[in-house]
Symmetry: D4
Amino acid sequence: MPRVALIMGSDSDFPVLKSAVETLKQFGIEVEAHVISAHRTPKRAEEFALGAAGNGIEVIIAAAGKAAHLAGVLAAHTALPVIGVPIKSSAMDGLDSLLSTVQMPDGVPVATVAINGARNAALLAVQMLSLRYDDLYKKLLEYKEEMAVAVERKDAALQEEVAGI
Amino acid sequence: MPRVALIMGSDSDFPVLKSAVETLKQFGIEVEAHVISAHRTPKRAEEFALGAAGNGIEVIIAAAGKAAHLAGVLAAHTALPVIGVPIKSSAMDGLDSLLSTVQMPDGVPVATVAINGARNAALLAVQMLSLRYDDLYKKLLEYKEEMAVAVERKDAALQEEVAGI
Amino acid sequence: MPRVALIMGSDSDFPVLKSAVETLKQFGIEVEAHVISAHRTPKRAEEFALGAAGNGIEVIIAAAGKAAHLAGVLAAHTALPVIGVPIKSSAMDGLDSLLSTVQMPDGVPVATVAINGARNAALLAVQMLSLRYDDLYKKLLEYKEEMAVAVERKDAALQEEVAGI
Amino acid sequence: MPRVALIMGSDSDFPVLKSAVETLKQFGIEVEAHVISAHRTPKRAEEFALGAAGNGIEVIIAAAGKAAHLAGVLAAHTALPVIGVPIKSSAMDGLDSLLSTVQMPDGVPVATVAINGARNAALLAVQMLSLRYDDLYKKLLEYKEEMAVAVERKDAALQEEVAGI
Amino acid sequence: MPRVALIMGSDSDFPVLKSAVETLKQFGIEVEAHVISAHRTPKRAEEFALGAAGNGIEVIIAAAGKAAHLAGVLAAHTALPVIGVPIKSSAMDGLDSLLSTVQMPDGVPVATVAINGARNAALLAVQMLSLRYDDLYKKLLEYKEEMAVAVERKDAALQEEVAGI
Amino acid sequence: MPRVALIMGSDSDFPVLKSAVETLKQFGIEVEAHVISAHRTPKRAEEFALGAAGNGIEVIIAAAGKAAHLAGVLAAHTALPVIGVPIKSSAMDGLDSLLSTVQMPDGVPVATVAINGARNAALLAVQMLSLRYDDLYKKLLEYKEEMAVAVERKDAALQEEVAGI
Amino acid sequence: MPRVALIMGSDSDFPVLKSAVETLKQFGIEVEAHVISAHRTPKRAEEFALGAAGNGIEVIIAAAGKAAHLAGVLAAHTALPVIGVPIKSSAMDGLDSLLSTVQMPDGVPVATVAINGARNAALLAVQMLSLRYDDLYKKLLEYKEEMAVAVERKDAALQEEVAGI
Amino acid sequence: MPRVALIMGSDSDFPVLKSAVETLKQFGIEVEAHVISAHRTPKRAEEFALGAAGNGIEVIIAAAGKAAHLAGVLAAHTALPVIGVPIKSSAMDGLDSLLSTVQMPDGVPVATVAINGARNAALLAVQMLSLRYDDLYKKLLEYKEEMAVAVERKDAALQEEVAGI
């Protein structure tokens, strides 16, 4: 069973990240979630990242706000792919989190998704895992189809609204 | 042999992207490179993305500038992981390319790296592929070690410069 | 009867876009509205754009938020004029949507209006159509006059408020 | 013969705008170009805009930098469609010009293209005119095809470069 | 009696601007307030600006949001000093209004104050008028003293709050 | 007993700054708090800064919003370290306060913390004072440990929440 | 003879400011120029501002870059109108200077012109002085006319260039 | 003898940082300089920070660009004060480095100076050390005086330049 770790810098970010857990479980992926702060528990961050591959983790999702170093710190200590989710905090409308996550120097990439893009972080993890687990690729194609169908249903519903204007 | 496609919106971006090709080849990965524009050759973009998985492509890297839709358009048509490289263009210092690449809506992620971050796009592709090809994981650990050694060598060289002040 | 298509990336954008429908109808223009996502229903987007001219559409208005590719994707597949409305989403205060819509590369323009500028998108469509339908030009001149009168009425009302200070 | 006016706030912007003139002429469109400043020659701006429709102008392109009011000022005085080209000036990397051009209030739209996007302003004018002049629509389809062919030629050329790495 | 005109692009901005009227009246300055839109009533804007000096206006304050052209348009038609107040609107947090107001080209200055800085616009007008009306200069010095006293009173009140922690 | 001054430009900023007072007191540091405006009470600002060292102040924390000159003005008049806290105000999401505080010219540094980062300003003051007061260094190490323990407790609590999904 | 002071935070800004001196002299205004730093020579700044009115200065122009406090500091110590010129420095493209200059708190306005807008600062000073010196108002009207003529001359020159395409 | 460590993320930043070494030496402070990357040599960063206090380091200056995590990573592992210098890199004009350095979460402050503000980082370190080493405080006062004298000398030189216009 494929396994993803979801690390968040603060438990206050969990409401934003819940959809990542749901999406991963929906694809039958085991999720290990932790509150680990790059700045308040740096030892723990290092130990987690160094041990991740050995503990069966295959992809790491890291979410943090402001000077969002968490994804970068984990990526520094592991060769596993690390997905970064910039969390919108109380100032700068998420731009600080985005730039701190994505603008990584040569040698240590972080796969960054949109500000508060928890669901997409999960889907990106699934896409990565589908390179190894063939059934996930099929499930992704189905997921894409369901999304398309949902949009078409909304399109149908819109017709009535517009007709009423 | 693992296989990555590197798609660029304009051939003028190739000098920035050359390091991606070099890095991928250095890891023994086959690279297929193309100039495909999301806006000028949309059919070609669609066909490429739809056929990519069938043609043995496992990861797609897409690089574009300004209203950088290329990575998103490819991701819309494939379930393969798509890595986006925002290219710095003549205005807005790369912010337009970054936001156009990373701020994808729910359902269709693009794994975004830094502005002009071609080498990191390649390394991220290698990390993804290492989920399937075990030897790549070992090579990544070696790469990390070599980077560390290079930094330490620069640290040694710095001592002389500082002593001279 | 002139005909405009209003395409939105998500039905949640409709409250912002309602004024576009109202304005177009006020000018006697037939409106065809759809929810089509550049990323979740890319095939549908392509088919719509390719068929638009043949189906009697003369101008397309496309509204989307975040990495707002919708207008650009439609413009890639049609030679009809495409008007882009950047939708303000939950982060970045609309700057991401604006840059993703307006910063189009050479060859494929999108006529971009203000963030959430739905009414102006409609008026711009009317201006374009007035090149062909002469009566629309007269209606636009009347619309301009009515706007001026409304401002003057507000100016009169202001005098009392200011006198009371 | 269709007719477009190209108005620039300063003659120093002409090098950026030359491609607009070339593109319009390439499509067989008559171009009338003027240096008119919204701030230094406001009377002239008003007279030009008020007389434009009567003088056979069908679309106006207005290009200006910094607090770029030119397009908005012209649009205030005419019901013709006005296309705005934000010019990148010496500070703020074009963001000031872009926001001053695109963020128009309800009632007076400006069809804004990318920063320094002169060629796209011309193409957008052609698209608008194609609503009236059917042959322009055919020429636009050809233009799109030629662009696609040019990209494919560049793609072919790229193969050699990549093979050499 | 000195005389200032306060022009606003929309009556919805009046709540922000009320403090300007109050401050001017507090200094014994006559205020003439108007809703005039640079884009919806351009003729009226021109006439007002051309006639302002002749009608006894000595300083003009102009407040507008988004692509805030009002101050610049008035300044184009008069040699009186024009003070610009960028109004914060629903997107871009006021940056669009600020840049559109302050980034004026050589030859036509607008004296710009802070976003929503209505009171400071009034005080700046008083400072300008004090060049001619000597008593205003004395009143400004008193105003400065009262501000200082008010701050010191707040400082005293703070001591209790801090002591309670 | 070590002594820190906390200066705020406006008493309306006190709710944001309360945590600084609490944190300093928690470390056994005497706090002197004042409302002093760089612009409304410039004399008072100068006198305070000139007298601070003589009055036993060892570190100054200065908090202000918008064109936040307070920290810089105090730093101009004293050789004590000055910590700047940019306060988020009603427009520009704190970017104005941050840039006005941090971008000091050569010769007069301000130690800037995050937007609204009052607690960190206090901790930075404690770190500076720990260079002189050895017991503070030990308390800082304990504080770091307590933070780490708190994060681990939150991590434990998270496990239940995640299990429930 | 009217008198203006031009204060710059650094002599390296003088090349940008030269046009202000030229413009003021062209209008027959006496200019007193000084290098005074708000941060390196705060006493001097205070003394200058406190003495300015008494020394016959009627308007102050202050130019500075980065955390540009100079105009605000002078305005804090005088009731004369202070015009701020934000200087573009080596980072942030002038945004830091602009926000530090314009975003002044209630009570102490700075009349801000464009980034590097030295000539406009001079013209704004002339406009202010024209409230007192009637001949300046006439000269300003002439200046405006000359600007308009210059634009028209450029327009004529443009016709040849465009004809050659 | 007081001791400061200057850590840079890349040796290519040394030209910017040289003035920090010079300034520290000018104040008689011993400088230990190192190239340590938070991402490429994370172990080394941790070891350095953990050992810094024991090795006699009293203040740490950390300089890095882009997603500048270096200062934050060091601050996570030590209770010594850490000064952060955001380095301007090839895109985003230093905004990424600034936000990544300054926007630290509660509990782990970084004393941030201006973009490329190496000299100020050194002066801030001296200010901190002056809390313990009394002679440094005197030297800082002298340094401030010399700066003031230098500005006055430049003011004198300016007079000739201005007279020549």
